[in-house]
């Protein structure tokens, strides 16, 4: 029933065989990063989510390249919508796909109600803890959430009685992603990353990803990393690709840098209400631009500058 069953031994062997513990330059275009590290059938996830520090420029490139039969970590908004609407998603471990204050995801509704998209249910903590379990090199983590509900029944979690206290626990199976994509404030060319503000589930996803694409607002000198090693949230050896992506989270926000683009988001939500509108949106903003640089030109330099200016508003 699990979309991605736990396999700590397999993950250990992968890490040994594929992670480069030496300094290698990893800066590349979003196109190269996606071509090399996102494959048909992969289990993929993005961090943080839709409108918040989300690597949407990489998501758009995935949609353009179109690897099929993806399985997805279902914590998101546009990130999930784009891939689902493009027909690339086979199944999803879902915790929350929706627009918070702005209501339901029309794309998810069509996919679930009409197309029968396969959805496995989890709580938000459960999905984060599942990645944490993989990050810890474990097959599972116990938890006191999810118990007694249909959410539990429609997940792949199990139960056990704690041998020390007799307390009933949910056992959350470790979730290692085939490819994780995380948007950060700063990275050096080797992939050492600095993050500002809340960390969401970036630390856990970075450590639970077999392949990891970093999308960074800014590429900084390694000297800056060495000066403040405590600021490194994701060390280089976890990273496979570094994509320079200023405004990479547009139309969402990146804290301290730019605010979300309410106009664009409202326009998107209106478009997404129908399958045709969604198609037109993707044609204009995803398929219709070759890369993130072109996307930024389409949004417009002055509009982006305004979002940056209004970051504190």
């Amino acid at each position: 029933m699990l979309l991605q069953p736990p396999d700590p031994e397999g993950l250990r062997a992968w890490m040994r065989d594929h992670k480069d513990m030496t300094l290698t330059r990893k800066v590349m275009s979003e196109s190269e990063a996606v071509r090399r590290f996102v494959r048909e059938g992969d289990y993929v996830g993005f961090e943080l989510y839709g409108t918040v520090r989300c690597p949407l420029s990489v998501v758009r490139e995935i949609v353009r390249q179109g690897p099929r039969r993806l399985r997805l970590l279902g914590q998101g908004l546009m990130d999930v919508d784009f891939l689902v609407a493009a027909g690339l998603v086979e199944a999803m471990d879902i915790t929350y796909v929706g627009y918070e204050a702005y209501g339901l995801s029309s794309v998810l509704r069509r996919a679930a109600e009409k197309d029968g998209l396969r959805l496995i249910e989890w709580s938000n903590a459960a999905l984060a803890w599942r990645m944490k379990a993989a990050a810890m090199g474990l097959p599972f983590l116990p938890a006191r959430s999810m118990l007694g509900t249909d959410t539990f029944k429609h997940s792949g979690a199990r139960r056990m009685k704690d041998p020390y206290t007799g307390i009933e626990l949910a056992l959350l199976p470790a979730l290692a992603l085939d490819c994780g994509v995380i948007h950060v404030h700063r990275a050096d060319v080797f992939g050492n990353c600095q993050l500002d503000g809340i960390t969401g589930f970036a630390l856990e996803m970075a450590r639970a990803s077999k392949r990891l694409i970093i999308s960074a607002e800014q590429i900084i000198e390694t000297e800056e990393i060495l000066k403040r090693p405590e600021k490194t949230a994701i060390p280089f050896y976890l990273v496979d690709a570094v994509v320079h992506a200023p405004f990479g989270a547009h139309p969402g926000e990146t804290c301290y840098l730019y605010r979300r683009d309410e106009g664009h988001i409202s326009g998107y939500l209106a478009a997404a209400r129908s399958a045709e509108g969604m198609k037109r949106y993707l044609d204009e903003w995803v398929y219709g631009v070759p890369d993130h640089a072109a996307y930024m030109r389409r949004v417009g330099e002055s509009d982006l500058a305004k979002l940056a200016e209004e970051k504190g508003s």
Binding site: A101, L104, A125, W129, G148, T149, T199, F201
Partner: protein
């Protein structure tokens, strides 16, 4: 007294339920309004906690999402989701806010699907942090629009635990001891859960609402407390604060309850 909307009544009533000296786990939407209102009027020491890591935001400006920068604006800490959820699991979060598309007599909630799970009539967002808040916080306050098709005998899907269909349901499931729904706040009234049965019980009516109205808008057999109080309408300070300070752009206030 000004005219006020059902949503405004709901938010004011919710704000009045909040204790000051606790941490409160805040989800998107009306709970943010209630928490911001409470922090300004009733519970200045309330500690707002957002699931993706924001701890102690002033709520001076309303976040549109639970991960936005406003959730850690002038905050004491910007952590991550695991830390926040583990803080709740460790017993440090007093109150949590919840809502849903359906609720049953035990305060169990559905935010997953209307209709069957494999081919739903309406696909809702899913649990999100709801199940965690309902499992791990000491007490939850549930905000609902009061309609017969929302207050149901049987949920289409039990996303988030209330008392899990019986007085000992949470205990049997293994959820942390001494936890569970505390109040349900609706546009019609205020509800608690009867100590023995853990079934929802009307304890106070909103202005102009009669017990019969509430019973009629409830799809399960509703208990009524021996003495039903009357909730005062929103006060001028509440309405002014809500409209001019908490949500001046009416982003949430314009939505229906």
């Amino acid at each position: 007294m000004s005219a006020y909307s059902a949503t405004e009544m709901l938010v004011c009533l919710a704000a009045r339920q909040m204790r000051g000296r606790t941490a409160v786990f805040i989800g998107t939407g009306l709970p943010m309004l209630a928490a911001a209102l409470a922090k300004r009027l009733y519970a200045p020491e309330l500690l707002p906690v957002f699931e993706f890591g924001g701890i102690g935001s002033t709520l001076d400006r309303l976040p549109l999402g639970v991960g936005e920068s406003r959730t850690f604006e002038r905050a004491f800490a910007a952590l991550g989701i695991c830390d926040v959820m583990e803080t709740a699991q460790r017993g440090l979060i007093g109150d949590g806010f919840l809502g849903g598309a359906q609720i049953n007599a035990w305060g169990d909630l559905n935010t997953t699907v209307i209709g069957p799970h494999d081919r739903p009539k309406v696909r809702l967002p899913g649990s999100g942090g709801g199940n965690d808040v309902g499992s791990l916080c000491w007490r939850t306050i549930i905000l609902m629009k009061h309609e017969r098709q929302r207050f149901v005998e049987k949920l289409d899907f039990l996303t988030t635990p209330g008392y899990l269909g019986s007085a000992r349901g949470r205990e049997r499931a293994g959820l942390p001891r001494g936890t569970g729904p505390y109040r349900v706040v609706t546009d019609l009234g205020l509800f608690d859960f009867a100590p023995r049965t853990k079934r929802m019980r009307l304890i106070a009516l909103n202005p102009g609402v009669k017990t019969a109205d509430v019973v009629a808008a409830t799809g399960f057999k509703l208990a009524v407390a021996p003495r039903v109080e009357n909730n005062p309408p929103p006060t001028e300070p509440e309405l002014t604060t809500l409209r001019e300070s908490v949500d001046p752009q009416r982003i949430f206030l314009k939505q229906s309850a």
